[in-house]
Amino acid sequence: MINYKEISKSDFKEIGLSFVVATYLFFTITWLCPDAPIKTLILEPVKQFWLFWGLEQNWKLFSPEIREINFHPEAILTYANGERMIVEMPRMNRLSYGERFRLEKFRKWSIDSLPWPDYKEFWPDFARYIGRKHYCANNKPSSLSLNLYWIEIPKPTAAGISELAALPQHTKMSTVFFYKYKAEDLP
């Protein structure tokens, strides 16, 4: 039978562990606080260490706002002879339950990262990846454009809400990126 009230005699190990957990919690809680000059000041000495070991964290899950649009990106690959190919990222609502489950990482990347200007430095890599994937030696890819198709989710009103089955299609479009292939991009 374990006596839960019994505490072993304090030793160096306890003191050391207490220091580790208190330090970790102090900096982690500071990391999770809203941005402020004092936060930057406190985190400055440990920032590199935290980032190196992947200790940074952020739990703004479905917050502060949930996006009010639905969208999907689509790439159009143009070959040397003018032929075009539509390369669609896996669209979850068009896949089976099993495929949705398996391809979650593609959803995460293609929805939260790929089409947004904050990630523009990563677009050329994406273009090269698609170019290699759909390479044809006799008819090489010449350019790629990344398009975003989107639509607003209807706002709930006093008159009612938009039912799931009646959500509008992604009918608005904008081109977010255009890439012309160079000789060294392809095999």
Partner: protein
């Protein structure tokens, strides 16, 4: 309250010895989730994400995400070839299996955590909150006594002691300081703390429309629940329930009297999201971690009652049949 009383409380919380049943079961669940990521979600596409010709290449990540500063990444030690990266994938899977069965538990758990850190650094764009959470609790699990039970390590240790005739050393497992388990509990409470704070800073959660929008994100549809999703009254109830239960998730969860109600509410929240929204690993990473709040003796009692119940039921069924 005096300083010595505070010190006593601190020591009691972090270091009063506890049975390791819960943390060892948590190790198995954690390992299964990581295995799901490694095999199902990365599986055949591992090289698309981490290979030398990946969707996002290492030089681009180093320049624009790491900003040319150092990051921990096992993969940097390997030749940047498909076969070397593929071999790393296999090593990651093997280490995860070792962790689940509790073989070289501390080392395999450390390897799994450092591999998660490496993969998240190598491609930070394909991970959801569940992956991030597994990474955040990884080091604490590695330094916990998660291999003391239900593990090959414990079995081998007892086997060796038995062969040496040291029957006095054969134990179920001694109670130890649960400081690492406490860190995992606090990590979960921090998640609810920040997400609650961020939610009440936005307008949708306060006007009750957040769950309406969340259930209409067509890239995340999972199983349909039109009776709920098409009823604004129920969606508003779920909106307020989410806020209340997430508030309780970092406050009332610490009190014995309210803990099980909070755990039940959080379980309902995560199962509900998991049913309607397709975010593999995400909800289950949190659901499994809720287990760390259950004291080992409660869990043991629960399983022993369950086993007594089913044994009695089986006895009635097959006992009755054998008389016929």
């Amino acid at each position: 309250m005096t300083i010595s009383a505070l010190i006593k409380l601190w020591r009691q919380f972090w270091f009063a010895p506890e049975d390791s049943t819960v943390i060892t079961i948590y190790r198995i669940l954690y390992g299964l989730l990581v295995l799901q990521v490694a095999v199902v979600h990365l599986g055949a596409n591992f090289l698309d994400w981490y290979g030398p010709k990946a969707i996002v290449t290492l030089p681009t990540v180093v320049k624009y995400f790491w900003h040319n500063e150092p990051r921990f990444d096992w993969l940097l030690l390997l030749p940047q070839t498909d076969s070397a990266i593929g071999a790393f994938h296999l090593a990651f899977i093997f280490a995860t299996v070792f962790m689940i069965i509790g073989f070289g538990t501390r080392y395999s758990t450390l390897f799994v955590w450092l591999s998660l850190v490496s993969l998240h650094h190598q491609d930070p764009f394909n991970i959801n909150g569940g992956d991030g959470f597994l990474r955040a609790v990884g080091p604490w699990l590695a330094f916990s006594n998660c291999g003391d039970k239900y593990s090959l390590d414990a079995w081998l240790k007892n086997l060796i002691n038995r062969k040496r005739g040291r029957l006095d050393l054969i134990t179920d497992c001694p109670a130890k300081a649960p400081w690492a388990q406490r860190m995992i509990q606090i990590q979960l409470a921090l998640v609810y703390w920040q997400t609650f704070g961020c939610k009440i800073a936005g307008s949708q959660w306060l006007d009750g429309s957040a769950v309406y929008y969340a259930t209409r994100l067509d890239d995340m549809f999972r199983f349909p629940a039109p009776l709920i999703a098409n009823n604004m009254f129920l969606l508003k109830i779920l909106n307020w329930f989410t806020l209340i239960i997430e508030l309780a998730g970092w406050t009332l969860i610490w009190f014995k009297d309210t803990r099980y109600w909070v755990l039940l509410g959080l379980l309902g929240l995560h199962l509900g999201i998991d049913y309607m929204i397709n975010l593999p690993v995400f909800e289950w990473a949190f659901i499994c971690t809720l287990l760390t709040f259950v004291p080992s003796h409660d869990l043991t009692n629960f399983f022993s009652r369950l086993s007594t119940y089913y044994k009695a039921k089986l006895k009635t069924k097959f006992g009755a049949n054998s008389h016929k």
